[in-house]
Assembly symmetry: C2
Homo-oligomer: 191 residues x 2
DNA sequence: GGAAAAATAGAACGATCGTTCTATTTTGTC
DNA sequence: GACAAAATAGAACGATCGTTCTATTTTTCC
């Protein structure tokens, strides 16, 4: 819609993630986005709205990346591509943990932000379930397996956060592969 | 050593965890600890030193709790008690994620704090390895299994953080139990 | 019991930061 | 080319917060 708005949102997303919420103020975003302070306040009510905008941007781009990673895949690899998408993201932007959880930690009393965090995690879990179904698992099995896949994803993000340890992602992927192999989908009895 | 110092550290730990680093300033700690501002600055050089003090306190109390949970246990349960300790902690203090990771996120450029975070995670991983060895696994097996247990622990903490979802901890515990059962320790061939 | 040390209350400072405002310049459109 | 809308630079404000300082009171210890 607005080119300026997009620039601001992308810059805010990048800065918030790379340098943290505490370290990047409005001025910092304005400077990096090469935009005037007034322009930012024309598009966003205030800092809170800017953070929400950055989270929405991250939500869209991250899930888009996960769709790319799954393109053309079927069976268990379609589920495991969730880890490939995570790895690609960690390599591209450096594993600094989950932007949503960090936003919630940095703005503890902001209801709007907390809502986005919950939404993000709910959608992430729902995506795990959907992928399992697409890969051939029954609804009941998908409902049981999805939280386990989700837990491995969360563990990978958290473990990768502390030392840029990308190994944690492949570790989690291997564990997920074993998990899926142990109870194969009726639709894909052979891996 | 100093009673006042202990009170300050305990209060800071509790407030930082319950209300977040951004929301609890020096004044807030002083008020809750029922201590004068000058007393705090007599014991700590500044905010950064206070945060480090709180992290050290958390480190000590958390690992002590893990020791308690493992007392008297042998074999796989000795490893799984890591999850019991985590659950007890989550129920007592409410799962708000890992204090160390939150501290690092809130003070991105503080070298001292980043060091404590790395130390904490390294010790946690080392504890996983030690427990596996105590439970009868060989050194090579322990080195391979420890990161997997650690990943499940991190995943449980992160997943529990978003909705007070204590189920994530028991979920992770079940996954760890299966993991250990799949390749039993020579010293404890029967579970 | 009296001296030294610690603790207290509270004011004051300086810096940071989110936000608003104004005056000027640029951009887009008929 | 003119006019309206958007963008710009930059000053200014108010609030928060970490930190320092002073004067007074309490505690500790010989």
């Amino acid at each position: 819609m607005s080119k300026k708005r997009d620039t601001i949102v992308e810059t805010a997303d990048r800065l918030f993630y790379r340098e943290g919420f505490a370290a990047t103020g409005i001025d910092r975003v304005v400077e990096a986005a090469e935009v005037a302070l007034g322009t930012l306040y024309k598009h966003f009510q205030g800092r809170s709205a800017l953070v929400v905008g950055a989270l929405d941007h991250r939500e869209a781009t991250y899930f888009a990346r996960l769709e790319e990673a799954a393109a053309g895949l079927e069976g268990p690899p379609r589920v495991l591509s969730l880890f490939d998408g995570l790895l690609a993201w960690a390599e591209a932007e450096g594993g600094n943990g989950c932007l949503f959880l960090r936003a919630a930690a940095a703005h503890p009393l902001d209801a709007e932000i907390r809502t986005r965090v919950r939404q993000h995690k709910a959608r992430y879990l729902a995506l795990c379930r959907r992928r399992l179904r697409e890969a051939g698992w029954e609804a009941t099995a998908a409902r049981r397996l999805a939280p386990q896949i989700f837990l491995l994803l969360e563990g990978a993000v958290a473990a990768a956060a502390q030392l840029g340890d990308k190994m944690a992602v492949s570790q989690a992927r291997r564990m997920a592969a074993e998990l899926l192999q142990r109870e194969p989908a009726p639709g894909n009895p052979r891996q």
